[in-house]
């Protein structure tokens, strides 16, 4: 790689020096044990060696582009990191990405770690989400060819990346994407596409599955195969102010683990969880209408048996070949984002409406409704959300609204015997600009609920001294802790539930494209999501430092 970069630079130096770019992202955490809030039980908290209380990650990306060539390399460092397993510690160093691509007129060839997706990702998405320790790049090759200016075909093959190695199995695929406009005067355009992905299991995985399935009794035995195919037909239709994206994805007979299926053991006892072999499907539609001041979006998605992994024995967020778009509003406030639903790949019927309207230059509003159920009708998630924003020129801005949620914690967080979490969360935010450079932002939310931890009050004050400094102070207060919850901190002696304040103090320094952030944090356990993929993170207590830079 270095040779190629050097070669490219050498060649480029005579005529064209090319473009060099990159980025750095670093996190350093200091874990300060706090048994009261549950910040215990991980190596970073419990180790007697103080050096083990520090952990972090570093990603350094370098890109070089010259004469149609593009070289990318990324070094990844994990030291005592809790990203891979929020309850564990992971250390490792290596090349996280190495790729080269070259474009010749209509043809582009890529080798190495390749990120791409077909359609909305229902059958294939190679992507990265650092907060969730997901990096599903394809290690292999890809070819793209422009058949015409409006019709492009691409094909790829390789293995799915896993940390510094690869997951078992081979993935290959092909996609054809088009764009058609019906005359220069016509308001109608379509962007159809078709995709196909094949996943071939390796012999070790097949042997593992054979060893499991051979012990299934009678009718519960299933067939196994090496290959599994997924197909997708998708299209974006644009007509005047309307955009309609639709996608149908189908998956052939595939072996996957269904945690709700019953298996009979040789002892005669039936237990939950076994491998099944089923076909899968997803239908996804999103229709948007936009007119001056008005935006309406309606989304519908039906998912059945669409677990698609590089290795069917993998669970959680591991080995995912595809990506399911989330069907709820992506909230940003601390309490409105506290309960967020992960997409369900085996059984989900979801829809969402979103309406935004700008009454005038000062006043605008947003209303959102989402509803997610299993295919047999069990409520998973429901949210009503409304927000009003009033802008007084550039001087100040006031926004506020309310969110009402139902959240199936038993399913999303695998917490047995817990009731549906029902919340009502009013919120408000005030932004005041003293001068062009000095601003004050205050936000507050109150979540009323009788479930999980009980009710919360959150407030944050943020002072901005542009262009360099942002200071923040916030607190999340368990104002009415739930007596029946086993998660709520209790007095060690009286066993009474405690009203705990989880404070955060932080400062951010920005210089050009460099951003440095230092925060002292006490944080309750909660869900961390990225685009509908979520995981439960334990409580955190300590100091977080982050640095990011692009060049």
């Amino acid at each position: 790689m270095l040779f190629l970069v050097a070669l490219g630079y050498h060649q480029g130096s005579a005529q064209d020096k090319g473009v060099f770019s990159g980025g750095v992202e670093m996190n350093i955490n200091y874990f300060q044990r706090d048994s009261l809030i549950g910040a215990i039980g991980t190596p970073q908290y419990d180790s007697t060696d103080v050096i083990d209380h520090y952990g972090g990650e570093l990603w350094v990306t370098l890109n070089y582009r010259i004469k149609g060539w593009e070289f990318s390399a990324r070094g990844d460092v994990f030291q005592n990191s809790n990203l891979r397993d929020p309850n564990g510690s992971y250390s490792g160093i290596g090349l996280g990405r190495l790729s080269v691509s070259k474009r010749w007129d209509r043809l582009e060839i890529s080798l190495g770690h390749i990120y791409d997706q077909i359609g909305s990702g229902l059958i294939y998405r190679a992507w990265e989400s650092r907060p969730l320790f997901i990096d599903n790049a394809l290690l292999g090759g890809a070819i793209k060819y422009d058949l015409t200016d409006y019709l492009k075909v691409r094909a790829f093959a390789g293995k799915q990346k896993w940390i510094f190695g690869v997951n078992p199995g081979e993935i290959s695929g092909i996609a054809l994407d088009g764009f058609f406009s019906f005359g220069t005067e016509s308001p109608l355009t379509i962007s159809p596409g078709i995709g196909f992905v094949n996943r071939r299991k390796d012999q070790v995985t097949v042997d593992e599955l054979v060893d499991v399935v051979r012990n299934y009794i009678g009718d519960e035995r299933i067939e196994l195969g090496y290959n599994n195919q997924a197909y997708s037909l998708y299209n974006t239709l644009t007509y005047k102010n309307i955009t309609w994206y639709s996608e149908l994805a189908l998956k052939g007979l595939e072996t996957f683990r269904d945690p709700t299926a019953l298996q009979t053991e040789v002892t005669g006892v039936r237990t939950f969880g076994k491998y099944v072999r089923e076909r899968g499907s997803v239908i996804y539609n999103s229709i948007s209408f936009a007119r001056k001041g008005l935006g309406i979006t309606v989304e519908v998605k039906r998912t059945e048996n669409f677990n698609f992994r590089s290795d069917p024995t993998l669970g959680l967020n591991l080995g995912l070949i595809n990506f399911m778009p989330p069907m709820n509003r992506q909230n940003t406030y601390r309490l409105t984002a506290r309960y967020s639903p992960a997409t369900q790949d085996l059984s989900e019927m979801a829809y969402q409406f979103d309406v935004s309207y700008k009454f005038n230059r000062k006043l605008s509003a947003n209303v959102n409704y989402s509803n997610i159920k299993t295919l047999d009708g069990t409520t998973l998630y429901r949210e009503y959300f409304t927000e009003w924003v009033y802008k007084q020129k550039r001087k100040w801005q006031l926004s506020g609204g309310v969110q009402i949620q139902n959240y199936n914690q038993e399913v999303y967080e695998v917490k047995p015997e817990v009731p549906l979490v029902k919340t009502i969360t009013p919120f408000a935010e005030f932004l005041y600009r003293f001068t062009r450079k000095k601003s004050l932002r205050i936000e507050t939310q109150y979540m009323n609920t009788d479930q999980d931890f009980g009710s919360w009050l959150f407030a944050q004050v943020e002072v901005g001294l542009a262009p360099h400094w942002i200071f923040e102070l916030s607190g999340m207060y368990n104002s009415d802790p739930n007596e029946n919850s086993s998660s709520v901190p209790r007095d060690p002696e009286t066993k009474e539930v405690l009203n705990i304040l989880y404070p955060t103090v932080g400062v951010t320094y920005i210089y050009h494209s460099n951003r440095f952030n230092l925060r002292y944090v006490k944080q309750v356990e909660g869900i961390v999501c990225s685009g509908g993929i979520c995981r439960l993170e334990p409580a955190f207590s300590g100091v977080r430092m982050s640095f990011s830079s692009t060049f």
Partner: protein
């Protein structure tokens, strides 16, 4: 335009014509004949909704390999807190230490099988219950290196339990070898979470009660000479308990010999014996 349509049609036909794949033949269940006895240390808990399924996998292994598998159910800390309706609390510091010694693992149930870190699995404690059987069978297929005989003598009046472990090697080898001795208790009827339900009268078996050695085992010998047995005795006074635990009719002694090799401490042979007066 014609070429585009033709090309598109060809692609569609190719993609949707489908690939017929002949299924893999699934053989009947394995029946491994072995002189080895494999130790399963199952990380479990009464608040763990998936753990009954794990426990049942262990029972299925004991059903198929009654003389070749011994089990210890470790109720450490994670998901082990008693339920509101629980009568007993199976947690203790030794169980927690033992559970922690297998970290990292991603969840429960998980099981350490002969304390081997299998090369095709990320962690020593395997949290995919479907793989337990194949790993147990892999261990059973290995050559047996020693015979471990366990005997006990229990005095009901003093509640003193004398355990004798006799290890007879079939190899000659030098190294660092350890012995571990665990007391387990079975037939304990108490609540257990199972998915979204509480099973009020669940039968807990192989529950880790105490360990008479260090959790890594105590030093046993530094060399084996073929057919020359080595014996060690352990004495333990079984506690009396008003809550019904430490029932001497339901106690079992589990012992194992392990080979220390760098970071590894893999079990060579295990054995069990019921406590009987």
């Amino acid at each position: 335009m014609k070429s585009i349509i033709s090309f598109t049609l060809i692609i569609v036909v190719i993609l949707f014509s489908g690939c017929r794949e002949y299924p893999i033949e699934i053989p009947p269940p394995k029946e491994v004949i072995s002189n080895r006895v494999v130790l399963i240390e199952e990380l479990t808990g009464v608040s763990c909704p998936n753990c009954p399924a794990g426990a049942e996998k262990v029972e299925a292994l004991l059903f198929d390999y009654p003389d070749n598998v011994v089990a210890v159910a470790v109720h450490g800390k994670f998901l082990s807190k008693p339920l509101d309706v629980s009568t007993y609390d199976f947690r203790n510091q030794e169980a927690e230490d033992l559970e922690n010694s297998f970290k990292p693992w991603l969840g429960k149930p998980a099981a350490a099988i002969n304390r081997v870190h299998f090369p095709d699995y990320d962690f020593q404690a395997v949290d995919d219950v479907d793989l337990w059987r194949s790993y147990v069978e892999q261990e059973l297929e290995k050559d047996n290196e020693l015979v471990l005989e366990l005997s006990q003598n229990f005095d009901e009046s003093t509640r003193e339990l004398v355990i004798t472990a006799k290890a007879t090697p079939v190899i000659t080898e030098s190294g660092n070898y350890r012995i571990g001795v665990v007391i387990t208790e079975g037939d304990i009827v108490d609540a257990q979470l199972d998915q979204g339900m509480i099973l009020p009268a669940y039968v807990h078996n192989h529950v880790f009660r105490t360990m008479l050695t260090d959790i890594e085992g105590d030093p046993f010998t530094t060399s084996w000479t073929q057919n020359e047995p080595i014996e060690q005795q352990f004495t333990f006074t079984v506690p009396t308990s008003e809550d019904g635990l430490w029932n001497t009719n339901h106690l079992e002694v589990v012992a194992f010999i392990s080979r220390v090799d760098g970071d590894r401490n893999e079990v060579m042979q295990a054995a069990k014996v019921k406590v009987e007066g």
